[in-house]
Symmetry: C2
Subunit: 238 residues, 2 copies
DNA sequence: GAGGGTGCGTGATGACAATCACACGGATGA
DNA sequence: TCATCCGTGTGATTGTCATCACGCACCCTC
């Protein structure tokens, strides 16, 4: 038996985008109700930290609106951004399941709303509802694939231009246009982009100039126009 | 109810090392019996591929004896080794759970034995035994942490020497001696080490020379003596 | 013992990106 | 209106590592 639309946990979080693969969609009525009892909702300002790398796992965050960046840093202060999360994403799941410290810091990049599921009740809930445990496993394996993609990017792509092209392509596939180009609202600073592809701010600036010159992209204000996907793909596999 | 020693799936695989955190240890009697029905055992020679990156997931491999290396390659032929697996490890779990192609190639580095659990029966089994699904989730999150450690290594450690030191330390912690040093049997070629830390064979050769000169390590035949852990740790965080 | 394959050491060279440095423009706020 | 901060562009310099190249040692097998 499936919960009819309107009983889902996500409906208390009105703007939450519903995804096919979403962890908490299409649960049974009982499971959905139980989840609703467990959860608490809060609004976070820009710059708020949902959790910080190294902290003991308090619980799972279900991001409803807003964007968050997940990052990890070395002692010397070098930081890499490993994922940009949007509404619908589940944050902190790995840490909670394995009862290890959060492996990343989750910081809100713009104000947003999130549901919080405390660790203990969440784990108890999973024990009660085996069906959901399998869903969690699936979500974890998706997380794993994302991490693996990251490994491939960092380990196999040598030059910054290759990684930059890869990043642009990942943005471009999200917003395909009929003519092969695509538009993205650029909300990241060069510094943040550098932290994603593992290089320096200056190099990112130079990459933008270079790619503009090569007609690969165009900037109008904060709107990024990706012009030539196939050329980017050539850079990636070069 | 727990399976008494002797009913465990692993017992058909005599030399299989039993680990506390192992996926299939301490299952209920029923679950253990069911697993035993599902599994089939085979022996693999050195160089055998359990599965190859990009293949549709056929099932899960439970490595009993021998070692395997997990690797991924780019189209241009650059390869990185992401994990060295030993007896007790579960291979291919992520691909099977998420029904995506294997994300790595698993190649036997020395002859060994493995249990194979075909995808369909394994997933069916998980649906029947929710307890095990949660264990699988835990295993997946462990895999995830390993992957994340890899990301940190590749993304945060800039110089090859730092990554090399990190690798040596990871070996050294497995075989601690009373005086702070440790001995490891070096079974990898320089080429393979290069593929682990993401550099070239030549650089690895030079790193060995350099570290020998600095009294950080010593080589007697194929026995690697790691002499100065603290110095290595300084290089890592430098 | 000759020959081929594989793994290892090491020199020379060049490219490329990190680093440092500074200038500019647009916000924001006193 | 001016000061300040932040994000950005871009030059000059330097160190580091990948690359190419070659020689050597070892272990097979014929």
């Amino acid at each position: 038996m499936r919960a009819p639309y309107g009983l889902n946990i996500l409906d208390n979080c009105l703007t939450c985008p519903v995804r096919e693969e979403h962890l908490f969609c299409n649960l049974s009525v009982h499971a959905g109700q139980r989840l609703n009892e467990i959860k608490s909702t809060a609004v976070y300002p820009k710059g708020a930290m949902l959790f910080i790398e190294g902290q003991q796992p308090r619980g799972v965050f279900l991001l409803c609106t807003g964007k968050a960046k997940l990052s990890t840093s070395s002692r010397e202060g070098k930081t890499i951004i490993t994922k940009l999360s949007e509404g619908g994403d589940v944050l902190g799941l790995n840490a909670v399941i394995s009862n290890r410290p959060y492996e990343v810091t989750a910081e809100m990049m713009e104000p947003g709303q999130a549901n919080f599921l405390p660790r203990d009740s969440f784990l108890q809930f999973l024990k009660e509802y085996g069906e959901v445990a399998l869903r969690v496993a699936e979500q974890l394996s998706r997380n794993y694939y994302t991490a693996y993609e990251e490994i491939r990017t960092l380990g196999l792509a040598t030059s910054p231009s290759e990684k930059f092209a890869k990043l642009l392509l990942s943005w471009s596939t999200k917003t395909p246009q009929n003519d092969g180009s695509s538009q993205v609202k650029l909300t990241l600073t060069h510094e943040e982009i550098a932290e994603i592809i593992g290089t320096t701010r200056e190099t990112v600036s130079r990459l933008f100039s270079e790619f503009k010159k090569k007609q690969l992209l165009q900037l109008k204000g904060s709107t990024l126009l990706i012009r030539n996907r196939t050329a980017l793909e050539k850079i990636v596999q070069s």
